[in-house]
Amino acid sequence: MNLSNGKGDRIFGVVVVLVAVAYGVAALQFKQGFIVDPVGPKTFPLIVAGVSVVCGLMLIVKPDPDPEFPPLRTVGTLLMAMLTLVAYAYAIKPLGFLIPTAIAAAILSYQIDPRAKFAVAAGLGLSGGLYVLFKFVLGLGLLGVPKGWF
């Protein structure tokens, strides 16, 4: 067994087995509902957990060759993108559509192609253009800027 290649699948397989076992244990606690049926709320989740454990073990025993994992820098960029999006999800309601969208779109654009001017233009253009499209053409109820600004 060549342990150096296939690390990705092996690690993933271990994660799958652990999660599936926890899932199965959680399923064992379910009590029958109001109407009692022979299958009950446990059986199907237990089957799913069982299949997952078998598949996870298969990945550990027979992993595929590793894909090309991105260098650490790229992982950092992706984390940054993810955090941007999480912040965006929290910001869009209190801050309105226009400002968070311009910032988030500009950051993403810069991450795909690091040209600062283009990214700023893309952010502003997307924010304004999509707002007009959604609000006035499609008639969605979006809030442009925080309440009370105008």
């Binding site: 990705g8 993933f12 799958v16 599936a20 899932y23 399923a27 379910f30 009590k31 029958q32 509902g33 109001f34 109407i35 049926d37 022979p38 299958v39 709320p41 199907f44 989740p45 799913v48 957990a49 299949v51 997952s52 598949c55 990945l59 595929d64 894909p67 994992f69 960029t77 992706l78 993108a81 993810m82 999006l85 999480v86 965006y88 999800a89 929290y90 869009i92 309601k93 969208t101 988030a104 779109a105 500009a106 993403l108 654009s109 810069y110 991450q111 795909i112 192609d113 040209r115 283009f118 990214a119 893309a122 952010g123 997307l126 924010s127 999509l130 959604f134 499609l138 969605l140 979006l142």
Partner: protein, 510 residues
């Protein structure tokens, strides 16, 4: 003459200005979505679902719009295959084999016209067959009880995983993950499961959130990782003329490929990619070595395009009649139906004929619209290819967010969507298919309920699951569909595609 009166009903709906306009808009957006590398039919439709619902379209209108996008994307996929040697979506992969060489010879215009006509022949054939075959299959579906449906769902998972994936364990795991996610929430017997006490999860995870996350958001992550490599700017296309003689010379190729493609599409799990692959291989072996496949011949473009468009229509048959999708995109379309509160299956044909036949009539019209857009107007869509990814992908991301936000209005669903996006990116790295996950989330509750109903009927006797001819047949097909590819893969090796750069983001989900 049932069909004629049904079609008349359909056309009376499809020809209203409102529906007609939606079909045209859908075709236009769809062709753009298909042409853009990285956006295929499934993520294109996924992106548009939440917005369509926020607009409050009724069932027929929403369905017409989104299936027009689906058909349009199937037409549009060929454009970047031919001009950039990058398939716009996976089914258009085989079109690069002869399309790109032809474009290099300075005949890009001819290639686009031939493939456009082939797409039209395939899609039109499939739509007509859909109108003929679907009602018959819907009648057969009346014979299905819970035990049969349970076996049918199993068949969908096993063939989708078995045929479409390289590693059986990973495909099965993906299905299990989807089914596991579907269990979250309150079941139909008022038992709360796997919510961890989080009230947001009581209704379960909205499948639209999962679909947009897995298909659209993960795509953006892939692009950030690759820094938009593989997109090409400055494509040129000279005058477009119609090479009548060459098109006529491919008439039998188009017809044969349409038939084979349609069959491949109807089979669960096979889908459009297999359709184009099979038809190309068939025509190549009929033509022999003298035909020059791979060097830029008309038949090499006509076969896969007729094949994949016919398969796209064929894939609608099991989705509409049985509620079991055969491919990633039809899984997304099933999500559309479920969100509209329409239960696909035989009752759909009996109770909501206006939806089914309005859809079929609209698809017929959409084909003519698409032929017009994709042959005389193809230059417009070629321009779209020059949109830089650094503008396009942030746009896709923002549209995903607005869609989910205006649909649910909750930051929690947006966070879930990001989580699914990250999950989709990791899974694509590890070569774990994401379509079975979606299928699992969509069908999980129905599958569990059919098992519970079957066991209630039989008072817990498991042999009831194998008690009818239909269910035994389905079980056998399911096991074969899952196991057979293991052996077939050794015998039939996919021909290695000639030097072709397929960046990660250009091999999305059927």
């Amino acid at each position: 003459m049932d069909i004629l009166s049904n079609l008349a009903l359909g056309f009376s709906i499809a020809l209203t200005p409102w529906t007609l306009m939606l079909a045209i808009i859908g075709c236009f957006i769809g062709t753009i979505v298909g042409a853009l590398p990285g956006l295929g039919p499934s993520n294109g439709v996924a992106l548009l679902i939440p917005i369509t619902f926020s607009m409050g379209l009724d069932a027929t209108a929403a369905l017409v719009l989104l299936t027009s996008v689906y058909y349009g994307a199937m037409y549009g996929g060929r454009i970047s295959s031919i001009l950039l040697n990058i398939p716009g979506d996976e089914p258009a992969m085989m079109t690069t084999l002869d399309g790109y060489p032809m474009a290099k010879q300075g005949r890009a215009g001819d290639a686009l016209v031939i493939s456009g006509v082939a797409s039209f022949v395939g899609a039109l054939f499939a739509t007509i067959m859909l109108a003929l075959v679907a009602p018959i299959l819907a009648r057969v579906a009346y014979l299905f009880g819970p035990a049969e449906y349970f076996a049918l769902y199993l068949l969908a998972f096993s063939t989708l995983g078995g045929i479409a994936s390289k590693n059986q364990a990973k495909a099965a795991l993906a299905s299990a993950i989807g089914l596991g996610i579907a269990m979250i929430g309150i079941d139909n017997n008022n038992v709360t499961r796997f919510t961890g006490g989080n009230l947001h999860l009581n209704d379960g995870i909205d499948f639209l959130v999962a679909i947009v996350g897995l298909f659209a958001v993960s795509e953006v992550f892939v692009f950030i990782e690759s820094h938009g490599r593989g997109s090409a700017l400055g494509v040129k296309l000279d005058k477009v003329t119609v090479p009548w003689r060459e098109i006529w010379s491919t008439r039998w190729t188009m017809l044969r490929s349409s038939i084979l493609g349609f069959i491949a599409g109807v089979l669960p799990g096979a889908g459009a990619s297999l359709g184009s692959f099979l038809t190309y291989m068939m025509e190549k072996s009929i033509g022999g070595s003298k035909a020059g496949f791979g060097t830029g011949v008309a038949k090499g473009i006509a076969a896969p395009e007729a094949g994949n468009n016919a398969a796209a229509g064929g894939a609608l048959v099991p989705m509409l009649t049985l509620g079991v999708p055969g491919s990633g995109t039809t899984a997304v379309l099933l999500a559309v139906l479920m969100t509209l509160n329409i239960t696909p299956g035989p009752t759909l044909f009996a109770n909501r004929p206006e939806v089914v036949w309005g859809l079929i009539a609209s698809l017929l019209i959409a084909n003519f619209v698409l032929l017009f857009m994709n042959v005389p107007l193809v230059k417009i869509f070629v321009k779209v290819l020059t949109v830089p990814p650094a503008l396009l992908l942030p746009g896709v991301m923002m549209v995903s967010f607005v869609g989910i936000y205006s649909l649910t209005g909750s930051y929690y669903d947006m966070l879930l969507m990001i989580a699914f996006g990250v999950m989709g990116w990791i899974f694509r790295k590890l070569d774990i298919p994401t379509v079975p996950i979606i299928l699992g989330i969509l069908l999980g509750n129905a599958m569990e309920n059919s098992l519970r109903q079957a066991m209630t009927l039989s008072a817990g006797d498991a042999s009831f699951l194998f008690s009818s001819g239909i269910s035994i047949g389905l079980w056998v097909a399911a096991v074969t569909g899952f196991v057979a590819p293991l052996f077939l893969r050794r015998i039939i090796k996919k021909p290695t595609l000639p030097e072709m750069e397929v960046p990660d983001h250009a091999k999305p989900i059927d």
